[in-house]
């Protein structure tokens, strides 16, 4: 009589899980909740100042942004907003790609696009905030667009 060697059922696919190494999925899960709580405060504050207070969306222009970023408080606020929100969003999209993109190649392409767009936008956004010039050289007909503290504006 022949015997068939049956492997132990229900053993973990990867047996090297011995307590060492970082569980990235766990930290991603924790990140969504930790950043989520902070983002509730940051985004509702952002929405209030930009859409509700004063004249709301009608008040937003170059001088409005220059006025906000003249205060380090809003520089820090917007930097945190950029990093926490974009990584939170990208990680959420990664979850959705994992759930719905069943094709291995397609999944890799989507995740690659996510990583590239996230890194590019984080660098771009951070550079914009920290190299921002509230009083740039502009032609005479645009001087009125500058904030009043530049000394030349309206």
């Amino acid at each position: 009589m022949t015997t068939v060697d049956v492997e132990t059922p229900r053993s973990p696919r990867r047996a090297e899980r011995s307590g060492r190494g970082i569980n990235l999925e766990k930290w991603g899960w924790i990140y969504m909740r930790a950043s989520g709580v902070v983002l509730v405060v940051l985004i509702f504050g952002h929405l209030f100042v930009n859409l509700v207070a004063g004249e709301g969306v009608k008040a937003i222009d170059f001088a409005f942004v220059a006025g906000k970023w003249a205060d380090p408080f809003w520089v820090v606020w917007d930097t945190l907003l950029l990093w926490l929100a974009l990584i939170h969003g990208a990680n959420g999209m990664r979850t959705i790609v994992n759930d719905y993109a069943s094709n291995e190649l397609l999944r890799r392409i989507f995740k690659g696009a996510l990583v590239v767009s996230t890194v590019v936008l984080l660098i771009l956004g951070t550079l914009v905030i920290y190299t921002f010039d509230p009083c740039p050289d502009v032609s005479a007909d645009q001087l009125e667009l500058l904030p009043s503290f530049c000394g030349v504006g309206a």
């Binding site: 929405l47 969306v57 009608k58 937003i60 170059f62 959420g92 956004g125």
Partner: protein, 149 residues
């Protein structure tokens, strides 16, 4: 014959003291945290609003980056946000963000609060109520800004 016999077990016989329970399959599977009821629909809405907010965020970082190009370029693009159609789009954005934020806090309470899973349905009702309060406060104010009041 195997030498490792499990022996014999007699089937339980019904008797008057311990009658066999009457079992019947439920017509519908009992709802779990996620299947069927509020748990599932809050999850669906959380995904849809999350994706929508993500794509707005991509655009919003790019339009804000125009402050580094020129005041004229930034103002030209940001003025599009003041048009009636985009004004309604901003209302939709706040609708999405409001739900995603409040339901996200509910998810956190389900995960970390010891009795969170027990109250997940009640918390969903609270989320919807707070959502309505938020929108009742925001909508008229924003529409006044956009359509000029």
């Amino acid at each position: 014959m195997s030498e490792k016999s499990a022996g014999t077990v007699s089937a339980p016989q019904p008797d008057k003291k311990y009658p066999l329970p009457k079992l019947s399959a439920p017509k519908m599977p009992r709802g779990t945290l996620y299947r069927g009821n509020t748990g599932m629909w809050s999850w669906v809405l959380h995904r849809i609003t999350g994706v929508a907010i993500f794509f707005f965020l991509l655009v919003h970082i790019l339009d804000t980056a125009l402050v580094r190009v020129s005041p004229e370029a930034y103002n030209a693009v940001i003025n599009q946000y003041k048009t009636p159609i985009m004004g309604l789009g901003e209302l939709g954005l706040v609708v999405a963000i409001g739900f995603h934020a409040l339901n996200g806090l509910r998810i956190i309470l389900i995960d970390f609060w010891s009795v969170g899973p027990r109250y997940h349905k009640l918390m969903f009702v609270v989320v919807i109520l707070l959502w309505i309060v938020l929108l009742v406060g925001f909508t008229p104010r924003h529409l006044m800004h956009v359509f000029g009041g």
